[in-house]
C-alpha cells in the first residue's frame, strides 16, 4: 500500500517536471516550488552513492529560495536516514548547513532533526560536518538562549570523541555559542550551568595539536564575543608557548596578549624567585621571547602584537632594544652607544680605529642571562630577522610603541636608521614612514641625520620622496645639521632633477621649523659678503630657488633675517612670491612695497559668514521659482558667478560651491532651452534653431555626469536629484528630436527607451520618490499608464508641457564634498626641445600627476593623449603606478608610450587625465536587483570619461626611418 502511495507521489512529481519543460522560459518562477521534488526524484533515481553525490553536487550549484528551503531540507533529511554511504551523508550534512544560512529561513525547525541524526551517526567526518551545520544554525539563531544552551550541551557531549575533527568542531561551537556568564544565571532552567571557559581550557592539553589550536581559538572567540576571560587562563597559555606545533604557539601568543590587555595590572610571581611583576610586563617578556621562535609565523605574530602593548613599563620596553653585548665575557658597547659617545665628545668626524670597540669591563658570569631575560633585545632580533615579514612587523610595532612613549622613540631611533639600509625596499620604506610618524617625539643628532641623508641617493623615487616627507617634519638640533641637510638635498637635486618639487617642499618645512638655526647660515647660503657685492645668482637655477625657499620660510618667523638679504634677494623674493606662492610665504619687509596685504593669508575670514553666504544665495534661488523667466535667469547667472568666486576664495567651500553652481547651471540651461520662443513655431522653421536646445540638453547631460562622478562624498539624495536632472535633459532631447525628425520608427524607439529609463529611475529610487513631490518625474509617473499606451507624438506633447510645468528641485547639500582634481606635474610642457623618435617606434613619456579626492583611482583614472591629427589614445595606468601618500591624495607616476607616423616638423601632443565612470556604480542596490535580472541594468549603463586635469602640451617629433 505504502509503495503504491509513494509511486503515486512520484507520478505527480513527474508531471510537474514535464510541465516545466512545456512552459516557456519566461515563467520560470512558477516551477520553482518543484525544486524539492526534483531533488527527491533525483536522489531516488540514484543507483549508487557516487550517483547520489553527483546529483547533490549539481543541486548545490543553484540557489534555493527561502520559501522552498524547508521542503528541500525535509527531503534531504529523509535521504540522510536511508543513506549508508558516509560521503553522501557528509554532503547532505554540509548542504543542510548551507541551506540553514539562507536569508529569510528560520532554521529552528531543523535543529531537532540535526541533533537527532547526530546522536546516531558513527562516521567521524560526518559528525564533524553535522556539528558544523549546528554551528551555522546556532549563529543564525543567536538570540535564542535555550537553543544555544542545547547546542552547547551537544558539543560538550561530543568533546570526548576520538577524532580530532569532531573535537575541533565542538570547541568551535563552544567558542561561538558558549553563553555569557550573565545570561546563564537567568535562563538556565533545567540545563546545568556549564563553565564554558573551564571546558575549553581543559582542551589546552589535548593530545592533538589541531585540537589545542581549536581550543585556543575558541577561547579567543569567547573573548571577541565579549565574555571576560579568567585570569587563570594566563598560566595555561604560558605553558602552550613551548608547544611543539607552530599553530598552537601562534594562537597562544594571541591569547596571552588578550589576557594581558584584560588584566594588565595584576601581579604575577616570577618563577624561581620571590619577586612579582605586573602581568602585562610578564606577558610582554614572554611575547618578546617568541620573537626568536623557530617558526617565522609565530615570530610575525609576536612582533605584531608587541606593538599594541602600550601599558608596559618603560623599563621593560627599553630592554627590547638592549642586547647586552659582550665579548670574551667583557661588557661591550654597541655601535650605537659608541656613535653617541663620539658625537657627544665632539670628535664625530674622525675615522674609527681598529679596536675602539674593544670590550671594557669584565662581566659577572653569574649575572649574564642568555635566554630567559625576557624582553632583552627582542627588537634587535626582530629587526635582524631572516624573513622580511618579521622585520616589517617589528618596524610597525616599534612605530606604535614609539608613538606612545617619547623616551622609547628616542632610543629606537638608531635602530630605525639602521633599517634604512635593509635589503628589501618595502622594509626600508616602512621604516622611513615609521620614522616620520614618530618624528614629533625626537630630535635628530647630527650623526643620525648623516645616515638618514645618505639614503637621499637611493635610486628608488618612493624612498626619496618618503625621506623628503620625513625631513619635512624632523627636528634637527644644530645649524650644522641644517646645513648638512641642505647640502645633501641639493646633491639629490642635481642627481635626480625630477625631485625638484618634493625637495622645495621639504625645504619649506625645514626652514619654517628651524628659523633660529637657519639664521646664522644665511650669509653663507646667500654667499653675501660684508664689503663686496657678489654676483647675482641665476634666478632659474632650481638649487638657488631651493636655498631661497629655505631662507624665506625661516625668515617668516625671524624678523631679523631680512636685514641680511642683499638687494637682488628682495627682487627674487618678489618674483618667487608670485611664481611659487605655495612655497614662499608673505614676509613683512620693512620699508618695501609689499604685495597687497589684502591677499595676506593671515587674515582668514571666519568660516561661518562665507558658509552663510552660500546658504543664503542658494535659498534665494530656490525660493524664486515662480518669478518671470527673465528674472530667474538673471538671478541664476548671478548666483552661479557668486558661487564660483566663493569657491576660488574659500578652498574648504570649493567643493560645495562648485557642486551647487553646476546644478544651477543645469537648471539655467534647461530654463533657457525651454524659453526659446521658437517652440511654438512649426517644425520645419524650427530646424535651424534646434541647435541651441539640443546643445543645452547635451551640456546638461555632461554636467550631471560630472556632478555624479567627479565629486567625492555625494550621497544618495544628491544622486536622485542629479538623475532627475538627467531625466529632464533626456526628455528635452526627445522633444527636440521629435520636432526635427520625420520618421516615426526612430521616434518610436526613442520613446520606448525614454519610458524604460523612467521605469528604471522609479525602480532605483523608489525610496526617494516621496521627496520629489511636484517634480517632473512625479508628474510623469502619474501619467505613466497613459504614456505607455499613447503614440509617440502624444508622448512628446505631454512631456513638453510637463517639462514646462515642472518645479525647480531643491538640492540638499552633502556634508563633505570635494571635487576630484588632478595636476600634471610632469611633463611640465615648458620644453622647446621636441622629443625625437623614429616613426613607428615608441617613445616613453614620464607622467607624474597628483590626484585629489579621487575614489578608487586604480580603476577610474586614465591618461589621454591627443595627437594633432585628432587621433586620441587612451592609456590605462597599472594599479602599481598609483601611490597613496595621504588621505584623499593619490599620486600617479607612470609612463605613456607615444608613437606616430613620420611628421615633417615637430608638433605638440596634448596629454591629460580622464576620469572614467560607469553609470551603474553609484546606483543603490535595491532588493529587486538581487533577483539576478541584470540585463535591464546593463542596458542603461553608460560608460564615459570626464577630463579632470588641465592638458599639458608635449613637443614631439617622429622622424622618418632612415634606410
Amino acid at each position: 500500500m505504502a509503495a503504491h502511495l509513494k509511486k503515486r507521489v512520484y507520478e505527480e512529481f513527474t508531471k510537474v517536471v514535464q510541465q516545466q519543460e512545456e512552459i516557456t522560459t519566461k515563467k520560470l518562477r512558477l516551477t520553482k516550488p518543484s525544486k524539492s521534488a526534483a531533488l527527491h526524484i533525483d536522489l531516488c533515481k540514484a543507483t549508487s552513492p557516487a550517483d547520489a553525490l553527483q546529483y547533490l553536487l549539481q543541486f548545490a550549484r543553484k540557489p534555493v529560495e527561502a520559501e522552498s528551503v524547508e521542503g528541500v531540507v525535509r527531503i534531504l533529511l529523509e535521504h540522510y536516514y536511508k543513506e549508508n554511504d558516509p560521503s553522501v551523508r557528509l554532503k547532505i550534512a554540509s548542504l543542510l548547513g548551507l541551506l540553514s544560512k539562507t536569508a529569510g529561513f528560520s532554521p529552528d525547525c531543523i535543529m531537532d532533526d540535526a541533533i537527532n541524526i547526530l546522536q546516531n551517526e558513527k562516521s567521524h567526518q560526518v559528525l564533524a560536518q553535522l556539528l558544523d551545520t549546528l554551528l551555522a544554525i546556532g549563529t543564525k539563531l543567536s538570540e535564542n538562549q535555550a537553543i544555544q544552551m542545547r547546542l552547547v550541551d551537544v558539543a560538550c557531549k561530543h568533546l570526548t570523541d576520538t577524532s580530532h575533527g569532531v573535537r575541533n568542531k565542538c570547541l568551535q561551537l563552544l567558542g561561538n555559542l558558549g553563553s555569557l556568564e550573565k545570561s546563564v544565571t537567568k535562563d538556565a532552567e533545567g540545563l546545568a550551568i556549564r563553565d564554558v571557559q573551564k571546558i575549553i581550557g581543559d582542551y589546552f592539553s589535548d593530545q592533538d595539536p589541531r585540537v589545542r589550536t581549536a581550543a585556543i581559538k575558541a577561547m579567543l572567540q569567547l573573548h571577541e564575543r565579549g565574555l571576560k576571560l579568567h585570569q587563570t587562563i594566563y598560566n595555561q597559555a604560558c605553558k602552550l608557548l613551548s608547544d611543539d606545533y607552530e599553530q598552537v604557539r601562534s594562537a597562544a601568543v594571541q591569547l596571552i596578549w588578550v589576557v594581558s590587555q584584560l588584566y594588565p595590572e595584576s601581579i604575577v610571581p616570577i618563577p624561581s624567585s620571590n619577586e612579582e611583576i605586573r602581568l602585562v610586563d610578564d606577558a610582554f617578556g614572554k611575547i618578546c621571547h617568541m620573537v626568536s621562535d623557530g617558526s617565522w609565523v609565530v615570530r610575525v605574530q609576536a612582533a605584531k602584537l608587541l606593538g599594541s602593548m602600550e601599558q608596559v613599563s618603560s623599563h621593560f620596553l627599553e630592554q627590547t632594544l638592549d642586547k647586552k653585548l659582550m665579548s670574551d665575557l667583557r661588557r661591550k658597547r654597541t655601535a650605537h652607544e659608541r656613535a653617541k659617545e663620539l658625537y657627544s665628545s665632539g670628535e664625530f668626524s674622525s675615522g674609527r680605529k681598529w679596536g675602539d670597540d674593544a670590550p671594557k669591563e669584565e662581566v659577572d658570569t653569574g649575572a649574564v642571562n642568555l635566554i630567559q631575560s625576557g624582553a632583552c633585545g627582542a627588537f634587535v632580533h626582530g629587526l635582524e630577522d631572516e624573513m622580511y615579514e618579521v622585520r616589517i612587523a617589528a618596524v610597525e610595532a616599534l612605530c606604535m610603541l614609539a608613538q606612545s612613549s617619547s623616551s622609547f622613540a628616542e632610543k629606537c631611533l638608531d635602530f630605525l636608521v639602521d633599517m634604512f639600509n635593509d635589503e628589501i625596499e618595502e622594509v626600508r620604506l616602512q621604516s622611513i614612514h615609521t620614522m616620520r610618524k614618530i618624528s614629533n617625539n625626537i630630535t635628530l643628532r647630527e650623526d643620525q641625520l648623516d645616515t638618514i641623508l645618505g639614503v637621499l641617493e637611493d635610486s628608488s623615487r618612493d624612498i626619496r620622496e618618503a625621506l623628503h616627507e620625513l625631513l619635512c617634519c624632523a627636528n634637527v638640533s644644530t645649524k650644522e645639521g641644517i646645513h648638512l641637510a641642505l647640502v645633501e638635498l641639493l646633491k639629490n637635486l642635481t642627481k635626480y632633477p625630477t625631485d625638484r618639487d618634493s625637495i622645495w617642499k621639504c625645504l619649506k618645512f625645514l626652514g619654517s621649523r628651524h628659523p633660529t638655526l637657519v639664521l646664522p647660515l644665511v650669509p653663507e647660503l646667500l654667499s653675501t659678503h660684508p664689503f663686496f657685492d657678489t654676483a647675482e645668482p641665476d634666478m632659474d637655477d632650481p638649487a638657488y630657488i631651493a636655498v631661497l625657499v629655505l631662507i624665506f620660510n625661516a625668515a617668516k618667523s625671524c624678523p631679523t633675517m631680512p636685514a641680511l638679504f642683499s638687494d637682488h634677494t628682495f627682487r627674487h623674493y618678489a618674483y618667487l612670491r608670485d611664481s611659487l606662492s605655495h612655497l614662499v610665504p608673505a614676509l613683512r619687509l620693512s620699508g618695501r612695497k609689499l604685495v597687497s596685504s589684502a591677499v595676506s593669508p593671515n587674515i582668514t575670514p571666519h568660516e561661518d559668514p562665507s558658509h552663510q553666504f552660500l546658504q543664503q544665495s542658494l535659498e534665494r534661488v530656490y525660493s524664486l521659482q515662480h518669478l518671470d523667466p527673465q528674472g530667474t535667469q538673471e538671478l541664476l547667472e548671478f548666483t552661479i558667478r557668486d558661487l564660483q568666486r566663493l569657491g576660488e576664495l574659500q578652498s574648504e567651500l570649493a567643493g560645495v560651491a562648485d557642486f551647487s553652481a553646476a546644478y544651477l547651471r543645469c537648471q539655467l540651461l534647461l530654463i533657457k532651452a525651454l524659453q526659446e520662443k521658437l517652440w511654438n513655431v512649426a517644425a520645419p522653421l524650427y530646424l535651424k534653431q534646434s541647435d541651441l536646445a539640443s546643445a543645452a540638453a547635451k551640456q546638461i547631460m555632461e554636467e550631471t555626469y560630472k556632478m555624479e562622478f567627479m565629486y567625492s562624498g555625494v550621497e544618495n539624495k544628491q544622486v536622485v536629484i542629479i538623475h532627475h536632472m538627467r531625466l529632464q535633459a533626456k526628455a528635452l532631447q526627445l522633444i527636440v528630436t521629435a520636432r526635427t525628425t520625420r520618421g516615426v520608427d526612430l521616434l518610436f524607439g526613442m520613446c520606448e527607451k525614454f519610458l524604460q529609463e523612467v521605469d528604471f529611475f522609479q525602480r532605483c529610487f523608489i525610496a526617494d520618490l516621496p521627496h520629489l513631490q511636484d517634480s517632473f518625474v512625479d508628474k510623469l509617473l502619474d501619467l505613466m499608464p497613459r504614456l505607455i499606451t499613447s503614440k509617440p507624438a502624444e508622448v512628446v506633447k505631454i512631456l513638453q508641457t510637463m517639462l514646462r510645468q515642472s518645479t525647480f528641485l531643491h538640492l540638499p547639500l552633502p556634508e563633505q564634498i570635494h571635487k576630484a582634481s588632478a595636476t600634471i606635474i610632469e611633463p611640465a610642457g615648458e620644453s622647446d626641445n621636441p622629443l625625437r623618435f623614429t616613426s613607428g617606434l615608441v617613445v616613453a613619456l614620464d607622467v607624474d600627476a597628483t590626484l585629489e579626492h579621487v575614489q578608487d583611482p586604480q580603476s577610474t583614472v586614465k591618461v589621454q593623449v591627443l595627437y594633432p591629427d585628432g587621433q586620441a589614445q587612451m592609456i590605462h595606468p597599472k594599479p602599481a603606478d598609483f601611490r597613496n601618500p595621504g588621505p584623499g591624495r593619490h599620486r600617479l607616476i607612470t609612463q605613456v608610450y607615444l608613437s606616430h607616423t613620420a611628421w615633417t616638423e615637430p608638433c605638440q601632443v596634448e596629454v591629460r587625465l580622464l576620469l572614467a565612470y560607469n553609470s551603474n556604480s553609484r546606483i543603490p542596490k535595491s532588493p529587486w536587483m538581487e533577483g539576478g535580472e541584470i540585463s535591464a541594468q546593463a542596458e542603461t549603463s553608460i560608460e564615459g570619461t570626464i577630463p579632470f586635469s588641465k592638458s599639458v602640451k608635449v613637443y614631439i617629433m617622429p622622424k622618418p626611418t632612415r634606410r
Binding site: D244, S327, Q372, D418, D458, S459
Partner: protein, 646 residues
Amino acid sequence: MRSFPSPRALQARGPECPGGLGQAAGPWPSGRGQRAVGEGRVWQHLPGPVPAGAGQDVGRSCILVSIGGKNVMLDCGMHMGFNDDRRFPDFSYITRNGRLTDFLDCVIISHFHLDHCGALPYFSEMVGYDGPIYMTHPTQAICPILLEDYRKIAVDKKGEANFFTSQMIKDCMKKVVAVRLHQTVQVDEELQIKAYYAGHVLGAAMFQIKVGSESVVYTGDYNMTPDRHLGAAWIDKCRPNLLITESTYATTIRDSKRCRERDFLKKVHETVERGGKVLIPVFALGRAQELCILLETFWERMNLKAPIYFSTGLTEKANHYYKLFITWTNQKIRKTFVQRNMFEFKHIKAFDRAFADNPGPMVVFATPGMLHAGQSLQIFRKWAGNEKNMVIMPGYCVQGTVGHKILSGQRKLEMEGRQVLEIRMQVEYMSFSAHADAKGIMQLVGQAEPESVLLVHGEAKKMEFLKQKIEQEFRVSCYMPANGETVTLPTSPSIPVGISLGLLKREMAQGLLPDAKKPRLLHGTLIMKDSNFRLVSSEQALKELGLAEHQLRFTCRVHLHDSRKEQETAMRVYSHLKSLLKDHCVQHLPDGSVTVESILIQAAAHSEDPGTKVLLVSWTYQDEELGSYLTSLLKKGLPPAPSGGS
C-alpha cells in the same frame, strides 16, 4: 631482554704545538688516549693557541661518534698551521689493525671549509676508506675546487712530496653521496641521517644521526643571524640525546649586523666619492660573496658608477656555484632570482692586473685575505702611498702577516729587498663573522631541546662559561671534554610494550578528560615472555599464568583528638571529606561509618583515652592512591567544628 647500548663519547686532543715545536707525535697521542673499550669515541681537535678573538677557521675538526653500535665520523678537517704530518688527523688511531671501512659506517662532512674537509682525500685514498661520505650538493660541488687549490699550493708552490694527487681528489669525490635538506637518508637498515640548514657558508648543514630511538645532532659551523646571502640556521624540535655544537663565540654576544654593514658601506661610499680606491682583501669563498652582494645592491640602490673588480681564478668557479644553488641562499635572493639572479653581478667585473693603475675611483676584492702574498699584496703596495685610498680588512689576520701589522697601527713596513713601504692609505677593520654567538648557540639548544650538550670547536675557558649557562638555563647536562678524556653518555632507551586493546579501551574510558602527554596511570600486569613485553589486564594475566586472585586490603588507624561521641566524629569526618572531595562519592552509612568510593572509614573511641578517637581507614589495593591520600588528609586533623569543640 636486549641490552641497549648507550652512546659513549671519548675525546682526545693532540698536544698543542705553538710555533711547531719539534714534536714528532701526531695530533692524537697514541700513548695518552685510551683505547675505548666500548663503542664510542669522540675525538676532537681544537684550534692551536691563536690570539684571542680570532682563528676560528684555523683548526681541525674530526669527531668520531658511536651510537647504537654504529660508528660515524663527523668532518675530516686539516690544520692550516702545520705543514708536516700533524696537519692531518692520525687515522691509524681509529683502528690499529683492520681497515677503516670495516670500522666506520659513514663519514659526514658539514661544509666545504678546509678545516672541515681538508683531510678527506688523504683519509679515503691514502689511508683507505671505501664507505660512503655524505655531504650536501653545494659542498660536493665546491669541495673539490678548494681541495685542488690547497693541493696546488702545497705541492706546486711548496714542493711537498707524499701529498694527495688530483686523481685522488677525484676518486675521493666519487665516494660522496649528496643529500638534500631535510631528506632522511638511510645509511643502512638502522642508521639514518638528516641534514638541516646551517647558514655559515653556502651548503653548510647540521646533521642529525639517528639509530633506533637514539639520536645525535652535529651542528658543524652555523650562524643564527641571517646575512646578505644566506639565511639563519634552523632545526626542529628533534630532541636528540646529544647535541654536539660548535662554540667559537661562547662568550660573545654580538651587536646587530646592520651597524657593521652600514659602516662598511659608508666608508666605501665616502672613499669612492672623493675619488679614492678601496682594497678589500678576502678569501675566495664565503664572506667574499656576502660583501659582493652587499656592495652590488648598494651600487644598484645608490646608482653609483665606480667600477668594482673581483680578482679572478677560483672565485669565478665558485660564483658559478653560488648562482646554481639559489635554494640555499636567503629569502631575498630566492624570491628575486626569477627576475634576476643576484649572483649575476652587474657592477662587479673580473679584475685584470693592469686595472690597478687605472685612474679614478674603484673597489677591488682581492685574495688572499690576510695580505700575506698574492694579488692583494701587490695591489696594496701600489695603493698604500695615497691617503685617498683605503684598505678594509673584513676578517681576522694571523700574527706576522702584513694585514696584522697594518691593523695594529704600523705605518712603515719593511718589504723584501730592504724596501720600506710607507702607508698613507686609511686602514679599516670590519668583522663579518658567520658563527653563532652565545645567544645564537643558546637559541639553537632551545630549538632542538637536547638531553645533553657537548661543546666543541672553541677555547676551553670560554666553553666553561657557556657550559655553566646551558646547565643553568636548560637544566641539561653539558660536556666540554678536555683533551684525552672519555665521555660516556647513558641514555634511557624506550622499550616498546604491547598492550591489549581491551585494556587500553577500558582505561581510556575511565578518565574522561584528556591529558595530553602527561604520563597516565594505568593498571595492568606486565608479562615478559620470549623477549617481548606485553601489558594485559590483571584478570587475563591471572588466567594466562593460571594463578588464583588474592585480595589485598590496607587498613590504617588515625588518631584524632575529639572528645565527642563516635557518631559525631564520624559526622564531622563525613562533612569534612564531603567538602574537600567534590569529585568523589562520599556517603554516610546508617551504621555510622563513612565511605568514600569503596574506602571505609569507621570511628571508634580509644580504649584508654576517651578524648581521642581512632579512625579506622580501610581500602583495597586498587584504591591505594585515594586511600593514602585520605589517610594523609585525615592525619592533618579535622577543621575546628563551628560549634567550638575542643
